[in-house]
Amino acid sequence: MYLFKYILKRLGLMLFTFLVIITMCFVLVKLLPNSFEPKPGQDVQLILIRREMLGYDKPIIEQYFRFWFYALQGQFGASEILYPNQDVWPIFTSKLPFTMVLNLCSIILSIPVGLGLGIFAALKKNKWQDHVISTGVMIFVSVPSFIYAFLVKYLLYFKWGLFPATANAANGALSWDFIWSIVPAILSMSFGTIAGFARFTRAELTEVLTNEFMLLARTKGLTRAQATVRHAMKNAMVPIFPMILGEFISIMSGSLIIEQLFTIPGVGHLYIQSIQSQPNPDYNFFMLLNAFYILIGLLAGIVVDISYGIIDPRIRMGAR
């Protein structure tokens, strides 16, 4: 029951934070200049009437309630510049799978590799294997992902010609063509995550391995492998598992830079497009995607916190 209450409380707080941020964003966006350039063949009068119908000339507070009124029905307005007069929501949902597939592949690749490297390094602590892994981790954690994205693209595409330069999205997100064409993107996204996981796992596991219960386990007659898997890993996973969960939540948000560099038609790409569109950002897309990113960020945080409580009963007790 207390867990339920705790979750409810956290969710309530999250909702409050979300509302405040969205309100701030909405007001700021509405304060921005919103001009338009009629394309040849477009009737200026018609556009003006449409904008009036959309309530663009009303006070901001009225527009704000109007926004929520329609948003709660799943309508986030129509795009004005990127996809003229099309609803933003279906376009957004059609982009989402690409981002999710990209991130999912990256996570599926990086979790086992990252954990494996971390465990290996922890077991071989202060031996040369550990030093090699730690140095590599240090480099990959520090260097921004787009730097090795350059390298990956240059080697895999330009030098060796293994993969197409841009994502092949013709057959949808779940097609083999698409996944094959984004392998360079997956690789360059994974390096940083792998390094992050490896570092975290190594730190946690080395700490657990020095505990006295490990000595006890060995004294009882368990082999080193048994003791590590059954006793050390379980304890080390307490902080690692929420981290993995958080990663899973954020598969939807994706990486702006990687999507841009490999021209993957995902959400991040759409976001950049909506910002850069001329003469001003495509506000309905901008607003929707902002809300989306904020929500994902908050959700990831809350899931991490709650999963701590579920995994480790001691932390759950503290929450009461």
């Binding site: 934070t17 405040v20 941020i21 701030m24 964003c25 700021l28 966006v29 304060l31 921005l32 200049p33 240090m138 480099i139 954690v141 520090s142 260097v143 921004p144 787009f146 730097i147 350059f150 390298l151 693209k153 240059y154 330009f158 702006l256 830079i257 841009q260 560099l261 976001y271 950049i272 910002i275 850069q276 001003n280 950002p281 901008f286 902002n290 990113y293 904020i294 960020g297 908050l298 945080g301």
Partner: protein, 515 residues
């Protein structure tokens, strides 16, 4: 007995001095006291990787400061005004004393068709700067129509394969060119070429067919196709080798009195004429013809300056905010925590975009507005990390006895906060501010790389903008992105190593653990 009880009136004579020659002291402490910072410094210098990183950072910062001054100033000043720089774009890195070695000398190995091969050879014959350094291999390829064509594997010098430039000059400018070439004995002005089918390429001075392929004579030599008629007002004594005397070096246009001259010049020599030095770019040139070495340095200087400014502002704001939160606690803490909570959850990209669109036009036109709004958007959410760190320290120290003592003595809140507690959190703050710098540089780089902020003007640049500009030419000239990449990677790694070293050094609980 009675005499002994009279304690109050003990005569002075009863006292005598203890033997003063025999003084007992504690042994004097011979070791020097080690202060907090001294200790941190000592333990930091034991961490070899961090020390090396610190030196590399120092080196990179020095490069950023003096780099722009190490390169021809006149050439850098020309960025804003000169539209002929584009002819010198994407030149490969070259260090003059490595010429001829094949490494870092501005040459590269390429496969070219017969057409290109002829153009290169033509440039070599005409200007005397032969782009073809070495011919490795000749081979034949077959396209899908079974049409055979000859290919060459050659090493070319990118500095010599720049195109001949066609200029339209006034008489004075034309005369100046002639005077210069007489003075320096360099054939700068090249004869005009007759209009041919392939007139767009000013390099083709020889007779060619519809596609621009050279039509050679029996001996395999090029046949010149220069103008031999029309006035050119050419008074210079320099003549191209093999000139029978009637080749024309300019095309006169316009009316008498204000003639214009269309002149074809050798691009390499024109560079020497114009900027006064032989082109030799240590890191090559970028897509605009700007020198990468100096531009990267000034971009780095901008990024570093921004990072340091942001770090200082965030440090101050965060320290004050965190101090108030941590010291007063309770309801104050609650409210302030919620505020920072909300701010922390606003994605950084959104803040930047909103600030760029909103604030930048208000502050000022062009780069200034963007830079200031960028700075502010870093500040909006940046101080939160620092504040929570300081808050934690304050919670730790505020109930300690010495604080209580200070309060008992009547010290005001402000004094306790900043005189007594704050110095204890200084280590954390220093570490934090060092680790903020790579974060800021990373964000700035990504944002300008994504094009959300445009910092790339003729006079100003940032590392991210250089990366963004270079990625389009990654196939042909990877060096344009290579150097910014190396710089940013090196900077990131070193700052992280340095920051981690500092963090360990300032963490008293690790004292003695590494000895």
């Amino acid at each position: 007995m009675n005499e002994e009880r009279k304690y109050t009136e003990i005569p002075k004579s009863k006292f005598r001095f203890v033997d003063s020659s025999d003084i007992y002291h504690d042994k004097k402490i011979e070791t020097k006291p080690v202060g907090y910072f001294q200790d941190a410094l000592r333990r930091f210098s034991k961490n070899k990787a961090s020390v090396v990183a610190a030196y590399i950072i120092l080196f990179l910062v020095l490069y950023a400061i003096i780099g722009p001054f190490c390169f021809n100033q006149g050439y850098q000043d020309a960025y804003a005004t000169d539209n002929q720089l584009i002819y010198y774009k994407e030149l490969l890195p070259r260090i003059s004393w490595l010429d001829g070695t094949g490494v870092w000398d501005g040459t590269k190995k390429v496969e070219v068709s017969q057409y290109t091969y002829d153009v290169y050879r033509g440039i070599g014959i005409e200007t005397g700067h032969d782009p073809i350094v070495e011919v490795y291999d000749e081979f034949e390829t077959e396209d899908i129509f079974h049409e055979k064509s000859k290919m060459y594997t050659i090493r070319v010098n990118t500095y010599y394969m720049v195109k001949a430039i066609t200029l339209t000059l006034t008489y004075d400018q034309y005369k100046a060119l002639q005077d210069w070439q007489d003075e320096n004995n360099i054939q700068l002005i090249l004869p005009r070429v007759k209009n041919q089918a392939n007139a767009t390429n000013p390099n083709i001075w020889y007779k060619s067919d519809q596609k621009g392929n050279a039509e050679k004579d029996i001996n395999g030599n090029f046949v010149p196709a220069y103008y031999t008629d029309g006035p050119d007002d050419y008074t210079s004594e320099m003549r191209l080798e093999g000139d029978p005397g009637n080749w024309k070096y300019a095309q006169r246009t316009g009316q008498s009195g204000k003639y214009n001259y269309v002149v074809r010049v050798s691009a390499y020599d024109y560079f020497v004429y114009k900027y006064g030095f032989e082109p030799c770019f240590t890191f090559g040139t970028d897509t605009n013809g700007y020198d990468i070495f100096s531009r990267l340095a000034s971009g780095a200087r901008f990024s570093l300056l921004l990072a340091v400014f942001v770090s200082i502002i965030n440090l101050t704001l965060g320290a004050i905010y965190g101090a108030i939160e941590g010291y007063y606690g309770g309801a104050t803490d609650m409210v302030m925590e919620r505020i920072s909570d909300i701010l922390a959850n606003v994605p950084f990209t959104i803040v930047t975009v909103l600030f760029k669109l909103h604030l930048a036009p208000i502050i000022g036109k062009g780069a200034l507005g963007i830079v200031v709004s960028l700075l502010l958007s870093f500040v909006v959410t940046g101080w939160i990390g620092m504040a929570s760190r300081v808050r934690m320290q304050f919670y730790r120290f505020k109930n300690q006895e010495y604080v209580l003592a200070a309060r008992t003595l009547g010290a005001r809140d402000r004094r306790i906060m900043f005189k007594h507690i704050f110095p204890n959190s200084l280590g954390t703050i220093i570490t934090g501010s060092v680790l903020v710098i790579p974060g800021v540089i990373f964000s700035e780089t990504s944002l300008s790389y994504l094009g959300i902020i445009q910092l790339d003007t003729s006079t100003m640049s940032s590392v991210g903008a250089m990366l963004s500009a270079g990625q389009n030419v990654m196939t042909s000239s990877p060096h344009v992105v290579l150097f910014p990449c190396i710089f940013i990677a090196l900077l990131m790694i070193c700052f992280n190593l340095f920051g981690n070293g500092l963090r360990d050094a300032f963490n008293p609980s690790l004292r003695g653990s590494e000895d």
